[in-house]
């Protein structure tokens, strides 16, 4: 940090290692589960060391594993999840950043009402809305297509709220300087606000990508065409078996595989964090 305090550095590392151990532990358990044989899990205390079936399990999942439970192969499902993830992330960020810009930088009648209307979308659980929302989507003819899968999900407010918080911290001088230079609001938005927002956009992209990637219930309800299966639907199909025992080792292998693309996104987006605003003086 600013000065060199080795003890504090050591403490920081300790805290981080402890934190990582605790936070990553469940994922580690999943990984261990995916490396063992089919019946090692329910017959005794779960071992903490990897087993010998790693190659076998993962290659099964990458090829026919999913189809043995009736789902499509894992590749096409990952692509669907990707479409949903990118669609939801880009869609939400786009409409939210514009709305937040409008709410913070303009005054217009119904401004507060608009903010609360958007904000309230956080506060009704999806399970309650799902039956009426299904009807709306069905009436609009949007079942079994990507529009119906993605658009209803971008109605939420976390992004707008976050951008609002961020925009409120941007110094007024920047905006006044832009106006003095004769720049209109959109130019200000494009040239000044947007670059400043990169860190928040990167953080949101991670969160929203994961949200879209992990969609399960909504695609399950509105699609009847297997070509829209997402990867978490496939996993649930393997895991939620009535009266039978799931093959946990394969389920967990699928879970780990499904969690990898988001990790790549996290790693990629992190560059934008660290590079981000350390240089920008405000």
């Amino acid at each position: 940090m600013v000065e060199n305090r080795p003890f504090l550095n050591f403490l920081a590392h300790l805290v981080l290692i402890l934190g990582v151990t605790i936070v990553v532990f469940p994922v580690y358990v999943a990984f261990i589960a995916s490396s063992h044989g089919p019946n090692d899990f329910l017959s005794g205390v779960v071992p903490l060391t990897p087993g010998s079936h790693i190659i076998e399990n993962y290659s099964t999942m990458l090829s026919s594993g999913m189809t043995s439970s009736g789902a499509p192969p894992i590749g096409p499902m990952m692509i669907n999840s990707l479409i949903m993830a990118v669609g939801v992330a880009v869609g939400k960020i786009a409409i939210s950043i514009l709305s937040a810009f409008a709410i913070v930088y303009f005054r217009f009648p119904f401004r507060t009402l608009a903010f609360w209307m958007i904000f309230i979308t956080l506060m009704l659980p999806v399970e309650v809305r799902i039956v009426p929302t299904y009807k709306v989507v069905a009436d609009l003819g949007m079942l079994n297509n990507y529009g119906g899968l993605i658009i209803p999900l971008i109605a939420s407010a976390t992004a707008t709220f976050l951008f609002r918080q961020f925009f409120l911290t941007v110094p007024d001088e920047l905006m006044e300087a832009a106006r003095v230079d004769g720049a209109g609001p959109m130019k200000f938005f494009r040239d000044i606000l947007l670059p400043l927002s990169i860190t928040n956009i990167a953080a949101l992209f991670i969160i929203l990508f994961v949200l879209g990637w992990n969609q399960y219930l909504w695609p399950l309800i509105i699609t009847t065409d297997q070509s829209f299966y997402t990867v978490v639907m496939g996993i649930q199909r393997m895991a939620a078996v009535a009266d039978a025992e799931p093959r946990w080792n394969l389920v967990m292998a699928a879970v780990i595989l499904a969690a990898l693309p988001p990790v790549l996104v996290i790693v990629a987006m992190q560059r934008l964090f660290v590079k981000g605003l350390v240089e920008t003086e405000k």
Partner: protein, 294 residues
């Protein structure tokens, strides 16, 4: 509500900017929500053939049910614990990560990755780990002399769902705290150091106020998360048991509506839940936001 001192003068542009989100919100949220709200005044069979308008009967029955009243208490405890724990731990981890900036990428990737595990799957993992027979955590607890049985002991069950819910949110909060901490200008920290303030003092007097917009955001979002997005965790681990000890309000909404197909009561419960959270949020905006430094 906070606003900027100076604003752009355009009259039409803001409406255009806000239109897409309002449109999606109205069509895909407000309209279905209104339908659900309307349903709270009805008593219907599952398929919707027979509809009785029952005024506030659904609401009255909820408040006359001691189990529902208990759920309020459980939800309060749960929401407070999850919010406080996940925010505090995440802040600690983010501050530590800032300290070791060069290696922080590995730590932060590892800390954010658990967020990528689908909530439904995470529930299964927690079930595995705490299972009294084969769970590794249950095993470790027994080895330490703690008898663990969340199937019968209500406190164990509440502990389990608090841990599971907090776990997920730590990643989320960590991510945003890290982003916020990254954007605190070094110059301010250096100025503080020159003035003789140690790192801990600097953190509380300089850094913490500067990240207060993010902190405020996270507190609001965490409470909303604890109250709305956690039914999956309860469903996978305790199903609201034992004897409704971990039945939080949102779980009851899901159980009565989705599984029990009592759409009227479920809708009434959602309305009540929504009113509570709107009120909570309004209070936060009014009283806490004035301490946020923009």
């Amino acid at each position: 509500m906070q606003t900027k001192r100076t604003v752009f003068p355009n009259k039409l542009l803001p409406y255009l900017l806000i239109a897409p989100q309002i449109f999606v919100t109205v069509v895909f949220f407000l309209w279905p929500a209104a339908t659900a709200f309307w349903q709270s005044f009805l008593r219907q069979d599952a398929f919707g053939f027979k509809t009785n308008f029952v005024w506030f009967e659904n609401y009255r029955r909820l408040f006359a049910d001691p189990i529902y009243i208990n759920a309020f208490g459980h939800t309060l405890i749960f929401a407070i614990l999850v919010t406080v724990l996940s925010t505090a731990i995440a802040l600690l981890l983010a501050a530590a990560a800032m300290r070791v900036l060069r290696t922080s990428r590995i730590y932060s990737t590892l800390l954010i990755w658990p967020y990528a595990v689908a909530p439904a799957i995470a529930g299964i993992l927690w079930w595995f780990m705490f299972n009294p027979s084969i769970g590794i955590v249950a095993y470790m607890l027994r080895a330490m002399g703690v008898s663990w049985n969340h199937l019968i002991n209500p406190d164990d069950a509440m502990t389990l769902i608090v841990i599971a819910a907090t776990w997920k949110q730590i990643s989320y909060n960590f991510l945003f705290f890290l982003a916020a901490l990254q954007s605190v200008p070094r110059s301010l920290q250096e100025a503080g150091a020159i003035d003789g303030a140690g790192p801990v003092k600097r953190f509380w007097t300089i850094v913490f106020p500067l990240i207060s917009p993010t902190t405020f955001y996270l507190i609001v979002i965490n409470i909303v998360y604890a109250m709305f997005d956690t039914f999956g965790i309860v469903h996978a681990t305790t199903q609201g048991g034992p004897a409704r000890a971990t039945e939080i309000l949102v779980y009851k909404v899901y159980f009565d509506g989705f599984i029990g197909l009592n759409l009227g009561s479920s809708a009434a419960q959602s309305v009540i839940l929504m009113v509570i959270v709107v009120a909570l949020t309004a209070v936060q905006f009014r009283f806490i936001e004035r301490r946020v430094q923009y």
